[in-house]
């Protein structure tokens, strides 16, 4: 274990970041991973719990105490092996995971949790830097072929696992680049995209074939895959954004976040976008207080918005959760993201009543304050107010997968419109078709997507081979 009394001696250390003033000038990542020494000290804080809640708090069940200890002892290569044994893509989660592990960390009961995510970040960065991350092609091929639809984290994790088990894997992506939300949902300043490219190189060497611009269920009939492949994995995400059906929704200047964010990522990637949707000089209102909303805030500020305001329907959560009743679970509490630090007005318990504008262009937003009681909301009479805006970004979450593919394949759905499959087998109502990630569970975290991708791969392997050695 780390150091027996480390948690009493050392403080939690945050990763250093560039000042907002500086980082707003570019699109690059601005967080600096811990030095080896600092990571070691952070590892020393780990108590190597007899019952490590972090491990069950982590959706991929990272063996956190073990690699904390290995980092403490500066045994980075073994730490990397241990980390990779449960997580295909720590460079993604080490950057953009909200870290439920840290919420579950035992130290979080009454102190600051171990900086687990920063250690993960340090391990994988060092791993790439040192050339330790190399392809692991299977010793032999099985001759089986699997199609993976969607190249987000679930699809990628699934594909990598299946390829390592010796199957021929083809990943189909409807966009022009691989990565799904990783590629086009998360801004570069949170996660640079060469990380995905690097992983793709590794996966190609392991035998994964990527095919982009393949909109299965639209341009490409889904049936074709079912016929051609021994198994099909649906990992297309939950892309259907939640709309805001209020008067004025159709005004120009009111967009989904997912109409706004991908364009910027493409520009950063070197694409030319005609008439890019930009916030420059605009009064931006972001509706929705989640991570996507945050990304809209950060992107708007980098564009040079005149002002950025973010509304949330729910009441302002407490600064500090009621730990005795919440730990080790994920707490609802006030979270201030790096994008918020860069400048933003936040307001809670606000419902948008309507948009108003001229010439088909939005000019203001009329909202009302809410009172919440026992989970029920009520408008506060006379609390209507107006805010001037010329760009409204809707970041209110996603309602589920695009239905076309599901309908075409004819898989059963659950009552939320997701693909119906359990987390034991990940098998849909159609035997050889499997589903994983947001397409199955609804919108969620990257780390959940990786978990489902891995577990689904195991199930597919077992389906194809009769038994499997892939870990769950």
């Amino acid at each position: 274990m780390g150091k027996v009394t480390g948690f009493l001696e050392f403080e939690r250390l945050h990763e250093a970041a560039d000042q907002p003033r500086e980082r707003l000038k570019h699109w690059r990542e601005f967080v600096h991973p811990l030095t080896s020494e600092a990571a070691g000290i952070q590892g020393a804080r780990c108590m190597d719990c007899g019952t490590p809640f972090c491990m069950s708090g982590c959706p991929v069940n990272n063996i956190i105490p073990d690699w904390n200890d290995l980092v403490f002892r500066q045994n980075w290569q073994q730490a990397l092996d241990t980390l990779h044994s449960t997580n295909n893509f720590p460079e993604f989660t080490g950057r953009v995971c909200p870290a439920p592990c840290e919420a579950a960390c035992t130290l979080n009961i009454n102190s600051a949790p171990v900086g687990i995510k920063s250690i993960e970040h340090a391990i994988i960065d060092k791993g790439w830097e040192s050339g330790w991350v190399v392809p692991q092609p299977p010793p032999k091929k099985t001759g089986k072929r699997v199609a993976v639809i969607g190249s987000g984290p679930a699809g990628l994790a699934c594909a990598q696992q299946l390829a390592r088990a010796g199957h021929g894997v083809v990943v189909f992506e409807k966009s022009d680049r691989v990565g799904g939300l990783l590629r086009y949902g998360i801004p570069d300043f949170k996660m640079e995209k060469h990380l995905i490219d690097r992983r793709m190189d590794q996966m190609r060497a392991e035998g994964v074939e990527f095919r982009v611009n393949q909109d299965i269920g639209d341009a490409v009939p889904a049936k074709k895959l079912v016929d051609e492949f021994d198994a099909v994995v649906m990992s297309g995400g939950a892309e259907q954004p939640r709309d805001l059906p209020v008067p004025g929704r159709d005004l120009e200047g009111v967009y989904y976040a997912m109409e706004f964010l991908p364009q910027q990522n493409k520009v950063v990637a070197g694409d030319q976008i005609s008439a890019q949707l930009k916030a420059t000089g605009k009064h931006v209102v972001v509706i929705g207080g989640g991570d996507t909303g945050s990304d809209c805030v950060g992107t708007s500020n980098r564009h040079g918005a005149a002002s950025v305001t973010q509304f949330e329907l729910l009441p302002q959560p407490p600064e500090q959760e009621n730990k005795p009743m919440v730990w080790p679970y994920w707490p609802v509490k006030l979270r201030t993201s790096s994008s918020h630090e860069e400048g933003c007005q936040r307001d809670w318990s606000v419902a948008t009543k309507r948009f108003e504008g001229k010439n088909g262009k939005v000019e203001k937003l009329i909202a009302v304050r809410l009172e919440w009681k026992d989970g029920q909301m009520k408008e506060v009479p006379g609390s209507e107010f107006t805010i001037k805006t010329d760009l409204v970004l809707l970041a209110m979450g996603f309602t589920g997968p695009r239905q076309a593919l599901l309908d075409q394949l004819g898989v059963a759905k659950d009552n939320r419109g997701n693909v119906k499959a359990d987390t034991d087998k990940y098998q849909t109502s159609i035997g050889k078709v499997f589903a994983a990630g947001d397409m199955r569970r609804g919108q969620s975290l990257i780390v959940w997507a990786i978990r489902e991708g891995r577990q689904c791969a195991r199930s597919v392997d077992e389906f194809l081979m009769g038994s499997t050695e892939l870990p769950r």
């Binding site: 948690f7 719990c49 007899g50 069950s56 105490p65 009961i109 009454n110 005795p324 009743m325």
Partner: protein
């Protein structure tokens, strides 16, 4: 076969587990003068030892008693003459005392067989005599099984010329008649028994009360019945079944104690069969087998073996020395020829090890010997008219003091022999000297002993497998945890690894992981009927010496050229040692020859192949031995991708049993070379099933690899790491052995001290014969399948195992590891439920625990309720929750293991809800006793500096723990502590570490903890493995009696741990008058324990509880005693199952701890608990957030869950649940591949016994307190008790007056607390021999002065009172050379003074923490574990003085300058005694004992001694002080010195 009069084995009850212990004594006329007086006096001794026995449900049904005397020739001659029979001259005929069946035809059949045997042996039948008896006074249950008792008279043939030869013939007649009768297989044949058949002695015994022996047998009243010796015995058995033959004496012995190694001993006797020949018995030898019938008691087996040796030509003393040798192995002071004698015989017979005082006689000599550890008392006196009287107690036969010339005791390993023919006493020294020099043992040993260490070898590098290490590790199921938790600490520190909290993982048979065969076995351990021993502080009696290879002929008394033997100092062989064994032929010029048996086989053959492979191995082994190989190497080193290893334990046991069955086992040694053995438990199993040595090549390679990768740091290289690892295994082995009270590896080898959990009966019967396995489980092919699964995993492409070992998850929870009941979610849900008082969240928690349809965790998880048989009732009709919770108590967690806040919170909660909390073994702050008044908080009551996080309290709350624990350390066990209890719990064992002691390191002994434990802050505290006042069941009865006297209102509870046979122990506990018994599961928690104990000792409580219930009901004892169960009880479902299996009450520990904040960190032993529960660090304690309400909420949830289930079961009253195991069933359709073979029918068994026998607790015990002398004392002391006036009382005292002064002390403590009364307020002067426990827990203000002597445990727990004992002025002996008080005197004394003018027995002032005492000599182990106070010894000490002594001071008068060799200096230093002036000049005052100079302190105590006891010795010393002073040595514990220095430094810092 169980004993005939015991019930058939049924359910979990098996008569094989019965234990007994007792009182023993003898009287003899040294000159051999026969008289009827001797017989009478023998019977008097018997009557005076009555309290050492027990009675069962029927007060007239004792456990048996008897007497052995010389044949009174005149009496029989005249009696037989009446029938017209003329007896031959004395010595030319023999008498058989025979118990015969009452059924006439069977009786005749038995008599016929005897007569036939007489004829076959060429002797003559003289006649039969009906033994006249008076059975009127017998109890009903006894009468029912009373045998017909007849004597058969046998005359000698002309070929027989001497009595010895006749004795041998009688022996052969008895054995062959017995075999023949057994072969008849008659239903009534089992009543046949021959108590004696001899030309010299006769035994009268039966299922009689001590007082009945003389009245039942009319012969004994006849004045013509004369003898020069009488050996008597009173038995205390754990059962209540009438068994006439189990009474002692046997034909040659009477035994007080227990032979722990009996199974191994019996096996070894059998194993020798083929290798024994006797020049004396000749062909008659063949008629004797089987020598020992299965199912016989340990004493009977011992008697059989002793008889064989004596009949084979050894003298009885010689034979006793072979069977119970002294601890010669590490005895540096022993004479070389005596050592050689023992060493020579060590290879012929394994020690019969265990607590034993054995009195023996062949009719010409009578004597006694004591086990090597001195665990039983035996006192004797010699009178001026040639009488010798020996007994378990002094004073058992009152003799006028003026007639006594010597009072002494048997010392550990010593023998005492009276030769009636020579007419003198032969002392140990002379006796052994003459035997040791009778043959050239020293010279022989030098010639025949080959020490493996000394064998010259080529030091060739061992051959290594070409299979990669990782693959082989995986093939043997290594996990990352094996390396991290076990092997790393072992190889780094040479110590066993420590862990904490309980074991909440499934047993191997339920695990989804592939487990090794080792994990299906649980270590057995000693509790109550025999003590565990202390392998650390009493290491001198333990030994790991092992002989590899052929053993000499047991009866080779005429040996001129004994065979050589190969000896190893300990049984774990490293690479070079193994290489020597492999090539031993070339290194020893062919004296030894080894051959290898390869136990791998092609994996392609599959699991079915294992059976035939094992058969072939057995045959191969047999052939090898027959062709002259002397060492068989059972090896799996050829394991590779294609070859799977048969589990080494299975292969070994198969071969061992096969060779034993063939009588060849002692012709060759078995060495196991295996990759599987890596932790202590594995080595223990291999030893326990017959390996003389083990070479764990893979573990050693692993250690080397860890060393190469730098895991041990710079100080430990590969060589050192291996050494450390071997050392750690050795230490662990000693611990495992000593848990069972076994001292030597020799007698542990093959002793099979294990039980199996999850192995099928056929598998056990065929390959592990004699091992208990009560729930069935996997069979041979599944064992093979599991091994193959592990093997295939190792060599497969499994990516998880490609570069790393399996994660494990046994020791810490891992997602992909072994399952645990306490998952993160279970912990979180329970905490949220308790904090928010949310029943819904509790439901979620309970579902995680209860629903084991997916996760199989416990046996009870696989139980189903037979709801279909029940008519549900409305829940409102069910007993209210507020009543149910009164049955709950929290576990014994000491303040010290958990924080003040955590500890007191539990107490408040339990007191609020009407349950009970338990102090644990650390004493209790007296401030907690009074009820809380309005406005008080925890901090205001206990002190703001002692409570880091204050907890608000309510008026009427109480911080007091109702249950006061009494553990082996006796920390803080004062009269006041006991007086404040509602229940006093004697902790015999703890689920997490049964049979082990513990220690609290000095750094954890804070000022507060030191205060309540009456010790010095910073001084390490050791809890010994045994209670030093409980070495047997009658000792426990005595302690129960002591505690009941100290607080007559409290119930006395005994805590046991579930293991096979625990039910029998519980029955014994009930007979010992306990009011309450706790059966703990193996899985209970701990603050710190070796992992091997947490994981591998004890069994699930489902087994132990069910066995207890069945045995108690069968014995009709259940109503007398409340039964509590604990061990990972978490939910209402657990409670219901506990009740259905027989529990009245329920203990919870981990769950309420979790409710108040514990998160199962398993870091208790590191003091770093981050939630302030199991730590003393104030910084961490601040983080404690528990509230009494949380605990209360939890218990009410449990109670409501119980009510719900009761309603479904249709049971309104909780009492109606108890014992209703018919409502349980095994869950159907369990798919788990290993669990399929489980069979719980034995757990669910209900004894078929009438409805008048209660199934739950309904009655109270009769403690016999009305007979206590203290009632009179209290009455006379009333002026003192009520008004503090001084009183003086005088009265006589006898050995039957036990625990005198204790009830009076309880009265003082209840009124005046620990401060008591001013010294000497109540002064009592006694004369006589005081019974056991004189002045136990004596309160301040009471002075007991005794003229005479005392028995064991005098001044136990002394709590401020004063005791002074001096011999009678009429007694002529010199106090310095005569014993005045017994064993374990002043054990756990806290305060007060005691003066003994004379010598004390073994273990004087053990665990003394504050009393001051003067004595004129002590036995072995004086001042062991002492933590405070002052001991002054004015005479000689025994060995191992000051072992484990961490505090206080001893001053020893070292007259002859030898003391240093008797002192164990591992924790103390010896210093000269300085004058005050010298001390002032040389030693800082800070570290002066009691702040005074040694000279002042010592002189004061010697002066007190002189004044209070009139000691000559003291006066002489004082008279010549300047000279005598220089002869004193000061025994100064290192810990104490350090702590004094630190305290002083701290004081200065505060002052500055």
């Amino acid at each position: 076969m169980a004993h005939p009069n015991l019930p058939e084995p049924q359910g979990l009850y098996d008569g094989d587990h019965e234990h007994d212990a007792c009182g023993v004594g003898f009287i003899a006329n040294i000159k051999g003068k026969k008289s009827h007086d001797i017989v009478d006096q023998g019977l008097t001794i018997l009557r005076n030892l009555t309290h050492r026995g027990a009675v069962g449900a029927d007060p007239k049904a004792s456990d048996g008693a008897g007497i052995l005397i010389q044949i009174p020739d005149t009496f029989f001659r005249e009696e037989m003459a009446k029938h017209g029979v003329k007896l031959p001259p004395p010595g030319q005929y023999g008498i058989g005392m025979v118990f015969l069946p009452r059924e006439p035809a069977s009786r005749l059949a038995c008599e016929y067989e005897i007569e036939r045997a007489i004829k076959d042996e060429g002797q003559t039948l003289i006649g039969w005599r009906d033994v006249p008896v008076d059975s009127e006074d017998l109890g009903e249950s006894v009468k029912k099984v009373e045998p017909v008792i007849r004597q058969v008279f046998i005359g000698r043939s002309s070929a027989i010329r001497v009595t010895d030869a006749l004795e041998r013939k009688l022996y052969v007649i008895r054995k062959s008649a017995g075999h023949a009768i057994r072969a008849l297989n008659l239903a009534h044949g089992t009543e046949f028994w021959v108590p004696s058949m001899s030309a010299r002695t006769i035994v009268y015994k039966g299922m009689l009360l001590p007082s009945q022996v003389g009245t039942y047998y009319k012969d004994l009243q006849d004045p013509r019945v004369v003898s020069a010796l009488a050996l008597v015995h009173q038995r205390f058995s754990t059962n209540t079944f009438p068994t006439w033959d189990l009474a002692h004496p046997f034909r040659m012995i009477a035994h007080n104690g227990e032979i722990n190694t009996v199974r191994g001993n019996v096996n070894w006797v059998r194993a020798r069969q083929g290798a024994i020949s006797s020049p004396v018995l000749g062909n008659d030898l063949n008629k004797l087998w089987p020598l020992i019938y299965p199912g016989q008691s340990d004493s009977a087996s011992f008697d059989n073996a002793l008889e064989l040796l004596v009949m084979g030509g050894y003298s009885i003393a010689h034979a006793m020395m072979m069977m119970i040798p002294e601890a010669w192995e590490g005895h540096t002071l022993m004479d070389p020829s005596r050592r050689a004698f023992y060493e020579y015989h060590a290879a012929m017979m394994e020690p019969w090890d265990g607590p034993a005082a054995i009195a023996f006689s062949d009719g010409r000599q009578i004597g006694a010997t004591l086990d090597r550890n001195g665990l039983r008392p035996a006192r004797y006196i010699v009178t001026d008219d040639d009488l010798v009287i020996m007994g378990s107690e002094c004073g058992c036969l009152p003799i006028p003091e003026e007639k006594i010339i010597k009072k002494w005791r048997l010392q550990p390993g010593k023998m005492f022999l009276v030769d009636l023919e020579k007419g003198r006493i032969i002392e140990d020294e002379e006796l052994k000297e003459s035997l040791a020099s009778s043959k050239p043992y020293v010279e022989w040993m030098e010639r025949i002993r080959v020490k493996l260490d000394d064998v010259e070898s080529q030091k060739a590098q061992p051959e290594r497998s070409s299979v990669p290490l990782l693959d082989r590790q995986q093939a043997f199921g290594y996990t990352q945890e094996d390396l991290k938790f076990l092997m790393l600490p072992m190889a780094t520190n040479g110590e066993e690894p420590i862990g904490s909290m309980g074991n909440d993982s499934p047993p191997a048979v339920l695990s989804n992981k592939n487990k090794s065969l080792y994990q299906y076995f649980k270590q057995l351990f000693a509790q109550v009927t025999n003590p565990p021993i202390d392998p650390i502080r009493e290491e001198l009696v333990t030994s790991l010496v092992s002989f590899i290879g052929p053993k000499p002929n047991l009866l080779g008394i005429d040996e001129m050229n004994p065979p050589i033997r190969l000896e190893v100092g300990q049984p774990v062989l490293d690479f070079f040692e193994m290489e020597k064994i492999r090539n031993i032929d070339s290194y020893t010029d062919g004296k030894f020859k080894s051959c290898e048996l390869d136990i791998t086989y092609p994996v392609a053959w599959g699991k079915e192949a294992i059976e035939a492979r094992l058969a072939s191995l057995a045959a191969q082994a047999e052939d090898a031995v027959r062709t002259g190989y002397s060492i068989l190497i059972i090896s799996d080193r050829r394991v590779d991708r294609e070859h799977v290893a048969i589990p080494a334990l299975l292969a070994l046991s198969t071969i061992h049993h096969h060779l034993t069955d063939k009588g060849l086992r002692t012709s060759a040694g078995l060495v196991v070379e295996t990759g599987s053995a890596r932790e202590v438990h594995h080595f223990a199993l291999l030893g326990g099933y017959g390996a003389e040595a083990v070479h764990p090549y893979l573990a050693l390679e692993t250690v080397l690899q860890l060393a190469e990768s730098g895991q041990f740091g710079t100080n430990v290289d590969g060589y050192k790491a291996i050494k450390n690892f071997v050392k750690a295994v050795g230490k662990g082995l000693r611990k495992v052995m000593s848990k069972m009270g076994i001292s030597t590896y020799m007698s542990y080898t093959g002793a099979q001290i294990f039980e199996a959990i999850g192995l099928s009966r056929p598998l056990i019967q065929k390959y592990f014969t004699g091992t208990a396995s009560n729930v069935g489980g996997i069979g041979l092919f599944e064992v093979a399948e599991e091994a193959i699964r592990t093997h295939l995993g190792a060599f497969s492409g499994d990516p998880v195992l490609a570069g790393a070992l399996d994660a494990g998850g046994e020791y810490a929870w891992r997602v992909r590891g072994e399952d645990h009941m306490w998952t993160p979610d279970a912990i979180a849900k329970l905490q949220h439920a308790a904090r928010a008082n949310s029943a819904a969240t509790y439901r979620e928690y309970a579902d995680i625990i209860n629903d084991q349809s997916q996760r199989h965790m416990t046996f009870r998880g696989l139980f189903d309720f037979r709801f279909h048989r029940c008519t549900p009732v409305d829940i409102d009709e069910v007993e209210p929750a507020a009543d149910i919770v009164k049955r709950f108590s929290t576990g014994a967690m000491s303040l010290g293991s958990i924080s003040t806040e955590a500890h007191a919170t539990l107490a408040v909660a339990m007191n609020r809800l009407g349950g009970k909390s338990n102090t644990g073994e650390g004493g209790e702050d007296r401030k907690r006793y009074a009820p809380i008044k309005a406005g008080e908080t925890m901090a205001s009551r206990l002190g703001a500096d002692r409570v880091v996080i204050d907890i608000p309290l309510l008026a009427g709350d109480s911080l007091k723990s109702k249950i006061k624990q009494v553990a082996s350390g006796r920390f803080g066990v004062t009269a006041e502590y006991l007086a404040s209890a509602e229940q006093i719990q004697i902790k015999m064992a703890q689920g997490a570490k049964p049979g082990e002691g513990g220690q609290l390191p000095g750094r954890k002994v804070s000022e507060y903890i030191a205060e309540i434990r009456y010790s010095t802050p910073g001084v390490e505290l050791i809890s010994p493995p045994p209670h030093h006042d409980i070495y047997s069941i009658e000792d426990l009865a005595q302690l129960i009696h002591d505690l009941k006297n100290s607080n007559t209102r409290a119930s006395i509870s005994v805590k046991l741990v579930s293991e096979v046979g625990v039910g029998t122990v519980a029955a014994g506990v009930a007979k010992a008058k306990a009011d309450h018994v706790t059966i703990s599961g193996h899985d209970g928690g701990t603050g710190a324990s070796p992992w091997s104990s947490i994981k591998h000792a004890g069994t699930p409580w489902e087994l132990g509880l069910a066995e207890t219930q069945q045995t108690l009901v069968l014995n009709r004892l259940r109503s007398r005693i409340a039964v509590q169960v604990d061990g990972q009880i978490k939910t209402g479902r657990d409670v219901i199952i506990g009740a259905l299996l027989g529990a009245d009450e329920f203990g919870f520990a981990t769950a309420p701890l979790v409710a108040e904040g514990c998160i199962m960190m398993r870091k208790c032993h590191l003091n770093t608990c981050p939630v302030g529960v199991a730590t003393q660090d104030p910084v961490l304690r601040k983080k404690f957030t528990g509230k009494p309400e949380h605990v209360i909420n939890y218990f009410f949830f449990v109670a409501e869950e119980i009510r719900g289930l009761m309603a479904k079961l249709g049971i309104r009253k909780f009492n109606d649940l108890i014992g209703r195991s018919d409502l349980l069933d095994m869950r159907k359709g369990i798919e788990h591949w290993k669990a399929r073979g489980l069979d719980f029918s034995r757990i669910f068994h209900q004894p078929q016994i009438g409805p008048e026998v209660s199934r739950f607790h309904t009655e109270t015990q009769d403690h016999g307190l009305d007979k206590a002398l203290d009632h009179r004392l209290i009455e006379l002391a009333m002026p003192a008790l009520e008004r503090g006036e001084k009183v003086t009382i005088e009265m006589p005292i006898r050995n039957i007056n036990r625990t005198v002064g204790t009830m009076l002390s309880g009265e003082v403590a209840r009124r005046y607390g620990h401060e008591g009364l001013p010294d000497d307020t109540i002064r009592v002067r006694f004369a006589g021999s005081a019974g056991q426990s004189l002045g136990a827990f004596l309160s301040r203000g009471i002075t007991l002065e005794l003229i005479g002597d005392t028995n064991d445990y005098c001044g136990k727990g002394l709590s401020g009172g004063r005791i002074a004992v001096q011999p009678s002025p009429k007694f002529r002996g010199d106090a310095l050379y005569n014993i005045i008080t017994g064993n374990a005197v002043l054990y756990g004394a806290i305060a007060g003074e005691a003066y003994f003018r004379g010598v004390a027995g073994e273990r004087f002032a053990v665990r003394n923490s504050g009393a001051h005492t003067v004595v004129e000599g002590v036995g072995d182990h004086g001042c062991e574990y002492m933590t405070g106070g002052t001991v002054t010894v004015l005479g000689a000490t025994g060995r191992n003085f000051a072992a484990g002594m961490s505090g206080g001071i001893a001053y020893v008068y070292d007259e002859d300058g030898t003391f240093a060799s008797y002192c164990n200096t591992s924790m103390v230093k010896l210093e000269p005694l300085l004058t005050e002036a010298e001390q002032d000049a040389k030693v800082a005052r800070d570290i002066w004992h009691m702040g005074e100079s040694d000279e002042t302190v010592l002189k004061r105590f010697i002066e007190n001694h002189a004044r209070l006891t009139g000691s000559n010795r003291a006066q002489q010393i004082l008279a010549d002080w300047p000279t005598t002073r220089r002869r004193f040595l000061k025994v100064f514990p290192n810990e104490y010195r350090r702590a004094l220095g630190e305290l002083a430094a701290k004081g200065k810092k505060i002052a500055a």
